[in-house]
């Protein structure tokens, strides 16, 4: 997790010397606006791992009810940024932040914020499927279990809803009591999505959810993201630009901890404002 801006492999055309703040112009911003307003607003947000600055004064906002993709070369800070939304970076020592991230108009880094409540409103799906060593059923209802819900009917309902929402219900409905570790990789990842949505969050954070999966499983997950769009605000970090084109409404291109371009996915990929975005999406570096 300790990716830092300084460790970024620089491409020949933008050597380390180019990576000074003067080089960067203001972020090109032309996002598609949703109908429900902003979900997350990032304001001049910077983050340091120890002395290394990983995020540089980023400002943009994520639209409610849309799918937003974060793209960029390895180490550009997109996962770091994603993990700031539900404060997973709290687990790492020596992290320092500046600026604000607002969710529902409240600064999530304010001391008044209940981190646990925040995480309950933001489900997260990780790069590698991480089902718990329990039954499929127990995995899905984990968010309810930790809330102390014991009513069997409520739990059953949540399990079914979660698994249906993650398009896994038909495959596992007859073996809910079997260990989740016996599922295939793609099924495990959908189980993790089911778990993330069983707690009925508002936002789904996905950190390269398909990078450990084969193409068929990836296609299923992408299909699923498309369906989730209607109910959740989805933020997805991806290395796969085709995937970003397929699933997202807005795309944010980051480079060396800075947001370079944020806008409508079609525009970002077909007609980017920024030269560096163009270089990246056309495969000249990254």
């Amino acid at each position: 997790m300790a990716q830092t801006a300084t460790r970024t492999p620089a491409s020949p055309r933008s050597g380390p010397a180019a990576a000074t703040s003067d080089e960067f112009e203001a972020t090109a911003s032309h996002p598609k606006r949703g109908t429900k307003g902003e979900a997350i607003r990032i304001e001049k947000f910077s983050l340091w791992y120890g002395a290394a600055k990983a995020l540089h004064e980023n400002t943009f906002s994520i639209e409610r009810g849309l799918v937003t993709a974060l793209i960029g070369p390895s180490g550009c800070g997109k996962s770091t940024l994603l993990r700031c939304f539900n404060r997973m970076n709290d687990l790492i020592d020596n992290v320092r932040i500046e600026g604000r991230i607002e969710f529902d108009g409240l600064d999530i880094y304010s001391p008044r914020v209940d981190v646990i409540a925040l995480r309950k409103r933001m489900g997260m799906v990780f790069q590698k499927p991480n089902p718990f060593p329990m039954s499929i059923y127990e995995n899905v209802i984990y968010p309810l279990r930790i809330d102390g819900i014991r009513d069997r009917a409520t739990l059953d309902q949540a399990a079914e809803a979660g698994l249906k929402g993650a398009a896994l219900w038909n495959e596992v409905k007859d073996r809910l009591d079997e260990s989740a570790l016996g599922l295939s990789g793609g099924q495990q990842q959908r189980l993790c999505i089911a778990r993330a949505i069983a707690g009925s969050p508002e936002v789904l954070l996905m950190d390269e959810p398909c990078s450990a999966l084969d193409p068929i499983a990836t296609a299923k997950i992408e299909e699923l993201i498309d369906e989730l769009r209607e109910h959740y605000t989805v933020v997805i970090v991806t290395h796969n630009m085709q995937q970003a084109i397929r699933v997202s409404d807005n795309t944010a291109f980051m480079y060396l901890g800075r947001l370079i371009e944020y806008g409508d996915t079609k525009t970002v990929f077909n007609n980017p404002v920024h030269q560096r975005t163009n270089d990246y999406v056309t495969g000249r570096f990254g």
Binding site: L91, I116, K120, K128, N130, P133, Y142, I146, S179, L205
Partner: protein, 582 residues
């Protein structure tokens, strides 16, 4: 040079050199070749296995043959004396020049031909009450003849060890049997009856009278407790005394009744006796109930031998020790070992797991934590006797004495918790083994994938919920490994136990039918200490030696069973919580 033919086939010089290099040549340095190391490592492993297997075979073989009934030899010495006994072992020794001076010239030259060595045999002659020794060495040149007469009897007695001789007569219910056959059904039936009568007497004396005594003691203690708590002239003391006075007569009557019943049985028992004669002719009259087992040693079928073997093993694992532990069983020691080990696990597990959880999950990983961790690891290197001293000084004499003063003042100056006991022994061993559990648990905790913790936290679980639902179940197999290691170490430890509660002979088990049923303050017997005791502290070490092997074999078995149970449990947990990760 031996590669010449290969090289000749190739005209090209470059190809030649590469061919030569491919074929293993003498110029390849030894270190560059794998085989010598494989051989060295393999033989190291083989050596290790050979030592372990050799040890186990030695212990198990010696342990297993001990109870097999052996024939009894009747030796006529050159001096014309008769000696009867089980030949135990033969060794070469150097007889003193005096003892061979008056031997025949043939024998003398034979001994000289062997550089002054002669063979001698150790006989287990028994009859300690008559001979004042259990074993006797006889040199080959002292023996005139050796016979195995069928009428020789081998009898195990409750007191004075074994008797070797003949069955002269038996007195059963007024009827006298002269020179009875040991297999006489009448004798066998009478013996069975006498043994059950003996057990009945023991039951009355120990359990029934014991309970009466216990009740009398409780009344006395109630008075004493009231005196201490309320003062000697308080109404509480008066009522306690009244209660004592009310109950005492009936208890005394009960005591007298039981004592009379026991006495009646004993009188009956004395009437049924056997007359045994040793080979020298001296006779001994014993109640039949005093014989645990008797058999014609030189006249046994295989089935009878197996029967005797089985009954000796059964006695060993199910009965109490006799004869300063060298005979009888070790049930109290098995019980004590298992109870102490389980108690140790109950104490060390929460203690070690909680410590490791704090160190690994909650504490900031700084210098202080490193110091703590190093100290914990160093604790494992402290000699165990030091823990024993600490356990005695701190647990028994400080904590225990405090508990006595607070809760059992009426029993002072007799200590209750203020002396060694099974609780203090388990606590001491817990202290000794806790580093193992801490280290294993820390390893197990750090092996829980970060992705699982993050998954749980991202669901909105608190840190404790994550540990409780995700981390601990997943780490459980690793924690079990630590517990298994701690258990193995704890069950095999003897030195500290000698200070904190193990005794040679414990009159009572730590668990019985008296309130509160589990008596953690009681001293107990332990197989490890039992080995030391029979091997080095008993009246005669020859009798103890085979018991050392038997007890060791049993201790190894007990520990193996405990460990196997834990290992099976761990395998189940592993299947359930770790599973196959792709």
């Amino acid at each position: 040079m031996q590669h010449q033919p290969v090289a000749e086939l190739k005209s090209d010089a470059g190809a030649e050199s590469s061919i030569v290099r491919l074929v293993r040549a003498s110029q390849t340095p030894l270190v560059a070749r794998g085989e010598p190391f494989v051989w060295a490592l393999g033989s190291a492993l083989a050596l290790g296995i050979a030592m372990i297997v050799g040890f186990l075979v030695l212990v198990l073989w010696n342990g297993l043959v001990t109870f097999w009934p052996k024939p009894v030899a009747l030796v006529t010495t050159t001096a014309g004396k008769l000696v009867a006994g089980e030949p135990t072992r033969i060794e070469a020794y150097r007889p003193s020049s005096d003892s061979i001076a008056n031997l025949s010239a043939d024998l003398q030259s034979a001994i000289r031909g062997r550089n002054g060595y002669a063979d001698r045999t150790l006989y287990r002659i028994g009859n300690y009450d008559l001979y004042n020794e259990d074993f006797r060495w006889l040199s080959d040149f002292e023996k005139a003849s050796v016979a195995y007469p069928k009428d020789l009897l081998f009898a195990e007695r409750l007191e004075w060890g074994v008797f070797v001789g003949t069955l002269k007569a038996a007195q059963i219910g007024g009827e006298t049997l002269d020179r009875p056959n040991p297999r006489d059904p009448k004798l066998i039936a009478a013996h069975r009856e006498a043994r059950s009568r003996w057990r009945e007497i023991r039951h009355i004396e120990r359990n029934l009278i014991g309970r009466v005594n216990y009740n009398i003691d409780q009344l006395r203690l109630a008075v004493r407790r009231a005196e201490i708590r309320y003062g000697a002239s308080s109404p509480q003391v008066a009522s306690a005394r009244a209660e004592e006075a009310r109950q005492l007569p009936s208890l005394k009557a009960e005591y007298d009744r039981l004592a009379a019943a026991a006495q009646a049985l004993k009188t009956k028992d004395q009437a049924i006796n056997v007359t045994l004669a040793e080979v020298g002719g001296r006779e001994k009259v014993l109640p039949l109930s005093a014989l645990v087992r008797f058999y014609p040693a030189n006249d046994l079928s295989l089935a009878e031998k197996i029967g005797i073997y089985g009954s000796r093993w059964w006695e060993f694992v199910s009965d109490e020790p006799r004869e300063a532990n060298t005979e009888g069983g070790v049930l109290p020691a098995i019980f004590g070992t298992v109870a102490m080990t389980l108690l140790l696990v109950l104490i060390v597990t929460p203690f070690g797991v909680i410590t490791a959880l704090y160190l690994r999950e909650y504490a900031r990983q700084g210098r202080l934590v490193s110091v703590v961790r190093i100290s914990v690891n160093n604790l494992a290197g402290v000699p165990s006797i030091v823990y024993g001293v600490f356990g005695l000084g701190f647990f028994a004499y400080t904590l225990g004495a405090g508990i006595d003063e607070l809760f059992f003042p009426e029993r002072l100056p007799n200590p209750t918790f203020g002396t060694g006991g099974v609780l203090w022994a388990a606590l001491t061993l817990a202290l000794l083994t806790v580093p193992v559990v801490i280290v294993a648990t820390e390893e197990a905790l750090s092996a829980v994938p970060r992705s699982m913790r993050e998954g749980s936290l991202a669901c909105g679980a608190s840190k404790w919920q994550t540990i409780r639902h995700i981390v601990l179940p997943r780490a459980l197999p690793g924690i079990m490994t630590g517990i298994i290691l701690a258990m193995a170490r704890g069950a095999g430890e003897v030195a500290p136990l000698m200070l904190v509660g193990v005794v040679k002979l414990a009159p009572t088990l730590p668990i019985d039918s008296y309130f509160p049923f589990i008596h953690l303050e009681r001293s107990f017997m332990h197989l490890g200490f039992h080995i030391y005791d029979v091997g080095f502290q008993s009246r005669n070490s020859e009798a103890g030696k085979p018991m050392v092997f038997v007890t060791t074999a049993l201790l190894i078995t007990v520990i193996a069973v405990l460990n196997l149970t834990a290992i099976l449990l761990r395998a189940r947990l592993k299947r359930r919580f770790v599973g196959s990760q792709f």
